[in-house]
Symmetry: C2
Subunit: 246 residues, 2 copies
């Protein structure tokens, strides 16, 4: 599986459409992923129109991929379709709760990753937009998602027009635990993050941002406590509205 | 990618160990999945010992795969390692909130699916255990997960000792939406679920369970409202304890 080993996120795409039959085949194969009780608790909204891309862009902090990619896919946790089926078959669905949301979100994320793998194997490039759960309220409105449907991931897709360097990853020993979780000592942390901190691009990143450490770029600039807390409230509000989670 | 297209969940495994170097290579490649800001917000606990499998089994409702598979992997959302790094680098982490949990859970689930794809391509069989988020409190205790670590998926892995029939999937049109979500009419639901309802094994399933419809097996037997609500409370308690989410 060299396509997974050698993958890199692609943010620049050729001005070339993805034929519907190509996209549909990739999605259909992606839906072979494991799914809770074979309920397939997800929906995918396909955005191709310029107008809809322009509407979605602000929800993704106007990252250029949203308007420049030929296709934008929004993967949603979806208990709406299944619940409708239940009601139509004299069955009383009880899926407006936190566990059911997490079941559906899990189903949707497995399918998202499966799609990314298949798309890359077919020569396409993808970018995963984490912003989907930052501004889910906007996306619910724009895509007209009904109750029991929540967007959990957005993927921009197109034929690659760049080949960036692969990003670093932590050493395997920093992620794996044998039998039980072995919590990290100060020495473990130093060792695990040593390569990342020594990378020239990260050193330059620290200089450019005038911080003392690389970690401060994350805590003080990119992923700030106050922002995380404010966006948590938005996400909770969306879950309250869409899944009746109090 | 015929391995994805032809995949099936495997619940029976040969009595044959997975060499550590095989497993580690698959995991290392799986970690190439997209990750929020390259923070790699996950950990994987590898269970090989009989004793630990026996301890984990009840958390997974004693499904036999847990004790019969050579390897059980618990994929965890993990902001502990990253936060420790921050504190050790004069940075103040603000990741004990719901958004950060969802970021980490997303990272962990993408890696889970990537691992499954790679394992299957290498001739292994996997089973995804959705029970992980049903009894996360037990798993936190057994695997000794510290604060900011929550289990989100468990995969049993081994060399296949069965080749079950592929399960059905809904037709593509039942999952895709063009530009905006087109909510389902009664006719849509009938059409989308027609093949599933007509399958001989599902008809037999209804007979065996003495229900009137297939949907009732889900709502009245397999995934009941009262159970979902009780397990939602457990999951929320775990998030309160592990991520300080109120």
């Amino acid at each position: 599986m060299d396509t997974i080993k050698n993958r890199r996120t692609i943010r620049k795409y050729k001005q070339q459409d993805i034929p519907a039959e190509v996209l549909n085949q990739l999605l259909e194969e992606a839906f072979r992923a494991s799914t809770m009780g074979n309920m397939q608790l997800y929906s995918v909204v396909v955005t191709r129109s310029e107008e809809m891309k322009r509407k979605l862009a602000p929800a993704h902090f106007c990252q250029p991929m949203v308007t420049t990619a030929p296709v934008v896919l929004t993967f949603c946790a979806d208990f709406n379709r299944f619940s409708k089926w239940c009601r139509q078959r004299k069955a009383d669905p009880g899926y407006d709760n936190f566990l059911s949301f997490m079941n559906a979100a899990s189903d949707a994320l497995l399918v998202t990753q499966n799609f990314c793998t298949l798309a890359e194997a077919a020569g396409l490039g993808i970018c995963y937009l984490g912003t989907t759960i930052y501004n889910p309220d906007q996306i619910v409105d724009i895509l007209q998602l009904p109750e029991l449907v929540v967007p959990v991931a957005t993927i921009t897709v197109g034929y690659p027009d760049e080949c960036p360097a692969q990003t670093d990853r932590l050493p395997l020993e920093g992620i794996l635990h044998e039998e039980t979780y072995r919590d990290y000592s100060a020495e473990d942390i130093d060792r695990i993050y040593a390569v990342k901190e020594a990378l020239p691009e990260n050193k330059q990143f620290v200089e450019l941002n005038h911080t003392e450490t690389l970690a401060q770029i994350f805590t003080d600039i990119r992923y700030k406590k106050a922002d995380n807390e404010a966006m948590s409230e938005v996400l909770k509000e969306v879950l309250k509205k869409q899944f009746h989670i109090g």
